[in-house]
């Protein structure tokens, strides 16, 4: 009983996945599982192995070693069934430029084995969900980058897949388009398993409930974005804008709960780092009131993912060199 339940939830299983190109190891012994309802973000520097991993899950590349299972089916045993369950937006959202948007979606729907009677409703529903009505009769090569990306997204979700894999879905989009795509992802996330790769850390916070950081082909962190923020020294740090002199700064620095203080003289912003996860907001605001310092915008930070990201991936890079 437990086993079947477990299997139903583990939508994507990667076991000891490796990919070598000649002597170069792109992905090294990667193991993770993703459950239904999860939005999983792949983070990592360029060339870290994110895309290669996605290409192996979608069946485009065969792993050198290891196993990929999607919805309990080994991709080696039955690639067609697995591909049927996956929607995939490759990097750069390739498509046929000389085709009209509608033509292209009908073509994909046909190849996705959607029943003939259901093709028209499927195309219509995806066109309205991704807002492609305006460009329906336009050739794809004449579209702007944002629309091209949306066409790519439309072809990936046209068959309502259980698993959705997107390689940099918002790359090159303007802020409004990014927002739309993220909203779309969030709306779909309930009954699907979604993996997306990105460079944009705010995106991870916005849509992902789990982030895997890959560097040098290996997983170096696997946690929820909120947990990752806690690894940042900015976690619970308090910052405020005010004119401070060195004496006051030193006073703050000498408080027990304070690890360090930074002062940005250009922005006149002071950042106070707490000792190991301590909650210091009250202490600091109390202190400022006592010293009657005029303060603008006193705020507590949740943590900075980019800092965590840099720390983790840079040390991983060094480790690679040492090897």
């Amino acid at each position: 009983m437990f086993n079947t339940k477990k299997r139903r939830n583990d939508m994507i299983e990667c076991l000891n996945l490796s990919k070598k190109f000649g002597h170069f190891t792109a992905v090294n012994d990667l193991t993770f599982t993703a459950n239904k309802g999860q939005v999983l973000g792949f983070l990592g520097p360029n060339g870290a192995g994110k895309s290669t991993t996605m290409k192996m899950i979608t069946g485009f590349l065969e792993p050198t070693a290891g196993q990929v299972k999607v919805c309990g089916v080994d991709i080696n045993d039955d690639p067609i069934t697995v591909k049927q369950k996956i929607g995939y937006l490759p990097e750069g959202a390739p498509s046929y430029g000389e085709m009209e948007v509608g033509q292209f979606l009908y073509f994909i729907a046909n190849l996705r084995n959607i029943q003939p009677a259901l093709i028209k409703p499927a195309v219509e529903s995806v066109v309205s969900r991704v807002n492609l009505e305006k460009v329906y009769y336009q050739k794809i090569e004449t579209l702007s980058k944002g629309f091209k990306r949306r066409v790519g997204l439309a072809q990936a979700i046209i068959h309502d897949p259980e698993v959705l894999i997107m390689d940099e879905p918002t790359d090159g989009l303007d802020p409004n388009q990014k927002h739309q795509v993220r909203e779309l992802i969030t709306n779909m996330s309930q009954d699907k398993t979604i993996i997306l790769s990105t460079h944009i850390l705010e995106e991870v916070q916005a849509v992902c409930d789990r982030a895997i950081i890959i560097a040098g082909g290996e997983i170096v962190a696997d946690n929820s974005p909120t947990e990752m923020e806690k690894m940042s020294r900015y976690h619970h740090a308090v910052s405020f804008v005010s004119d401070l002199d060195t004496e006051l700064l030193n006073k703050i620095k000498q408080m027990d709960c304070v690890l360090d203080v930074d002062y940005d003289s250009r922005l006149k912003e002071t950042t106070v780092y707490p000792t190991q996860g301590l909650f210091i907001f009250d202490e600091i605001s109390e202190f400022l009131r006592k010293e009657s310092i005029q303060v603008k915008s006193l705020k507590m930070e949740a943590g900075r993912l980019d800092e965590v990201f840099r720390n983790i991936t840079e040390t991983a890079g060094e480790r690679e060199v040492v090897k």
């Binding site: 590349l61 490759p90 498509s95 073509f107 072809q155």
Partner: protein, 244 residues
């Protein structure tokens, strides 16, 4: 089967959505006419047949078929589309065959449009129409052979120019191996069996025998085999090269 027909339909649409189709068909018709009438002396021979017209087909195809074949796969690889194609729930061989058949149908269409030739020659005399039909069939098979070679080479490179040149060269070798000049050279130091073996790999030998009206199964099987093997090779090359 439905996947293949979807692919064929899309490919054909794409030929006609771009100038490729029109340029190809017009050039093909002009060239085949020029070759047949001027260089082949169709009139001056005073014989009611299309032999001069068909004799030039191998040389016409040598340049025109690679021009169609070069884009089959290298364009998909270059645009990154191949990643999309290979992750759809469709067998690789369906793609290979769908794309090949679409291109073959397209060339067949161009070939059909030379029908005024048949009308003219029937107007001028009493040709052996059975022979003409057999010759058209042979010509179509020959185009298929070239196309299959081109498909494989196109899968091996992202660069269409390289695909074109290499395909012309390989097709030329396949034609050349049946040329008397080449065969005479081999005859000097090779036993007749081996010379025959070389001759039998040639497109020209089989094409000639069909256009002479000798429609034997061997020639058809030969082209069928050549096409099958090169298409299978295409699917292997796609696997080898898709990651680059």
């Amino acid at each position: 089967m439905s996947a293949i027909s979807s692919i064929i339909k899309r490919e054909l649409q794409s030929y006609f959505a771009t100038p490729i189709a029109y340029v190809f068909i017009v050039i093909f018709l002009i060239m085949s006419g020029v070759f047949g009438f001027y260089f082949g002396n169709l009139y001056e021979r005073g014989q009611a047949d299309l032999t001069p017209f068909f004799n030039f087909h191998p040389w016409l195809y040598l340049f025109l078929v690679p021009a169609v074949a070069m884009r089959l796969w290298s364009e998909e690889r270059n645009s990154g589309n191949i990643e999309l194609l290979m992750t759809l729930p469709v067998n690789k061989m369906d793609w290979v065959m769908g794309k090949f058949f679409a291109a073959w149908i397209f060339i067949g269409l161009a070939l059909l449009l030379t029908f005024p030739m048949i009308i003219s020659i029937n107007y001028l005399g009493n040709p052996d129409n059975g022979l003409i039909i057999a010759s058209y069939f042979g010509s179509f098979l020959l185009a298929g052979g070239f196309l299959a070679i081109g498909s494989c080479i196109s899968a091996a490179t992202k660069n269409q120019v390289i695909a074109f040149i290499l395909t012309v060269v390989v097709c030329f070798l396949f034609l050349l191996s049946g040329f008397p000049m080449v065969l005479n050279f081999f005859k000097v130091f090779m036993p007749q069996v081996l010379v025959d073996a070389i001759a039998s790999t040639s497109f020209l030998t089989h094409f000639d025998s069909i256009t002479k009206g000798v429609l034997n199964l061997g020639d058809i099987v030969y082209f069928g085999l050549v096409i099958t093997l090169w298409l299978y090779a295409t699917s292997l090359v796609i696997d080898m090269k898709k990651a680059d």
